[in-house]
Amino acid sequence: MATPVLDHPDLPRLKAAFPDVKFLASEYRGQTTVVVPADALHRVMRLLHDDPACNYDFLSDVTAADYLGYPSRTPGRFAVVYLLLSTNHGRRLTIKTYLDPSVDTLGNELDPALIVPSVTDIWPGAEWREREVFDMYGIQFRDHPDHRRILTWETYPAFPLRKDYPLRGRGERERYRVMPRDAR
């Protein structure tokens, strides 16, 4: 495997601005990813957005991944992925934060360890994407203006994109009561 080329111009800026934060960086297919600890995420995002040299004014996407049983070692089980884009400089940068669950991941119990700060105050477009990540992975976003599930219903008994949730579900449909036609 080729060695990563870490020549993204914003990496030195990040290191200089946050000497106390431990960043991990990687590069694959010309795309640079920076792993930021969850507690420093909001400060880093704020700088990336506001600093005129970085100027990541466009949030392309917020998504997440579950690395339970992934063949390569990762710093944590869940990753929240932010795809940033600077419309002025035409550069992209991927920011990742890893989180480890502290409670059982099978149900829909909210986990105090799976919380990251919301970036909706920096990029309002993140609002619905963060809701989807919460819906699918159970990762909560602190200070989110409308923190609800978005695609499944509110009492859905699991977070379906977690790797320990089976493809066929756990019988949510089968246990749903059929309403007879004349029921009120």
């Binding site: 495997m1 694959y28 297919r29 795309q31 990813t33 004014d57 466009f58 949030l59 392309s60 996407d61 998504t63 997440a64 991944a65 579950d66 690395y67 992934y70 063949p71 390569s72 992925v81 795809l83 419309t87 035409g90 992209r92 991927t94 990029w123 309002p124 477009g125 993140a126 609002e127 619905w128 994407r129 989807e132 699918m136 609800r148 978005i150 695609l151 499944t152 219903w153 509110e154 009492t155 859905y156 008994p157 379906p160 994109l161 949730y165 493809l167 949510e172 246990r175 749903y176 009561r177 309403m179």
Partner: protein
């Protein structure tokens, strides 16, 4: 409440029990109107709860998820070729663009180079897909405002696009035409394909656009309904992650075909110094429904211009990339004729074999008809993606709907919804 279902056992399913409705449903001076999930102007299945003050919209709460069917979960259990049949069902108005976007992302991850012939065919089909999408959107914008004829002008021509897709791939509606490193099969006959596309862009499309323009562009009723309705400023468009015609109508000059070129939009795409295809990025500055309509009309003309440059010079040679390692399916003729190709074919097709995928992750996006359509793929070295996250442009566009509508009249809802071109299947996946 009639929409509430409370099962005796199992789960407490109560879609109505949002905080918003709890606090506002009994407010005496305003009343709540439920729009959708089944309504002709939603085009698909989405629901909007409107809080009305007279006829003025005071508050908008979109509810989505009615068509959620776990596409992304399914992706983790399908291989890199199989999943194309699923992405095709996302933006079903222009399914071919989803196919191209998915395999663009996969090929970026696998680092597969396409042949010039494949690039040209994919570019032509992507632009036909863009026209397909815009014809519906422009026509439906008229339909929702009461001009049924405009819709038929657009929809009629889509039928000819279906014929082209049918001819190329064997399926009218969902072509599922791309494969890793190439396409499902070569064009049946270059000359017939050329004539079908020529006929469409030279005769059918210009007269259809002409009809629509004559009917709508100077139509007092239409202009009154869409002018300065649902305005997005340039700053908001960037902050709210809007892309595609919706952002360009607000003055954001951003088009991935120019900014991050791929296929034939790239310089030197055939390896022999070919120039990128020439086209202009249509954009407007008003950011209202009228601008979005006009940008889409202009984009169709630019798409026809791109196809016009390519259709007469489809390069010969193989369609699929050179099958190196276990990445690309070998030509079907060789599979029957040589043992190496047979082995290679089975290495990819057999369920216990499959791709030599890398262990890594990357993001690939193309300029779809509605905006940046991308896939973030995490690969784990097996035949299935570990995670295939979609960046659906409609999702971002629908999220701004409340902002666009508040303060407008109830009747403006359909105009705004039509101009955003929300495809609920892509929204919910």
């Amino acid at each position: 409440m009639p929409y509430t279902l409370q099962p005796d056992q199992g789960y407490d399913v109560d879609i109505e029990s949002t905080e918003y409705l709890k606090t506002h449903v009994d407010a005496p001076e305003r009343w709540v109107l439920n729009f959708g999930p089944q309504h002709p102007a939603t085009h698909t299945t989405l629901r909007i709860v409107l809080e009305l003050d007279g006829e003025r919209v005071a508050r908008v709460t979109p509810h989505i998820g009615y068509l959620h069917s776990g596409f992304e979960k399914l992706a983790e259990h399908h291989d890199y070729n199989q999943y194309v049949c699923t992405v095709s069902r996302m933006d079903y108005v222009s399914p071919i663009v989803n196919d191209i976007a998915w395999h663009h992302a996969v090929e970026r991850l696998f680092d597969v180079d396409l042949t010039p012939r494949c690039k040209v065919v994919r570019t032509i089909l992507a632009e036909l897909g863009r026209i397909q999408n815009h014809l519906l959107c422009v026509g439906a914008a008229a339909l929702d405002l009461g001009a049924f004829t405009g819709f038929l002008y657009g929809f009629n021509e889509r039928e000819h696009l279906y014929d082209i897709m049918d001819y190329v791939s064997g399926q009218r509606f969902h072509p599922d035409y791309t494969r890793v490193g190439g396409t499902m099969r070569d064009l049946p006959d270059d000359e017939t394909f050329r004539q079908m596309v020529r006929n469409f862009i030279d005769d059918r499309l210009p007269s259809a656009i002409d009809d629509i323009e004559t009917l709508l562009n100077r139509n007092r009723i239409f202009i009154d309904r869409v002018h300065e309705v649902g305005v997005v400023s340039k700053e908001d468009a960037i902050a709210w992650s809007l892309t595609g015609p919706v952002a360009r109508a607000s003055g954001v000059r951003r088009d991935l075909r120019k900014d991050e070129p791929y296929l034939c939009y790239q310089d030197n795409w055939d390896g022999q110094g070919a120039k990128p295809v020439e086209f202009s990025v249509a954009f407007a500055t008003d950011g209202d429904c009228l601008s979005r309509y006009l940008v889409r009309l202009e984009e169709m003309k630019q798409s026809a211009r791109i196809i016009d440059q390519l259709i007469d010079r489809i390069p010969g040679g193989p369609m699929n990339a050179e099958p190196e390692g276990k990445m690309v399916l070998p030509p079907k003729g060789d599979v029957y004729g040589s043992i190496e190709a047979t082995i290679q074919h089975f290495e990819i097709v057999m369920t216990n074999r499959g791709w030599d995928a890398p262990i890594g992750e990357s993001y690939g996006a193309i300029e779809g008809p509605n905006g940046e359509l991308g896939y973030y793929i995490v690969a784990d070295g097996t035949k299935n993606p570990w995670r295939a996250a979609t960046r659906p442009p409609s999702f971002m566009h629908f999220a701004v709907l409340p902002k666009l509508l508040e303060g407008h009249m109830l009747a403006d809802l359909v105009a705004v919804l039509g101009s955003l071109n929300i495809i609920a299947a892509e929204l919910d996946r």
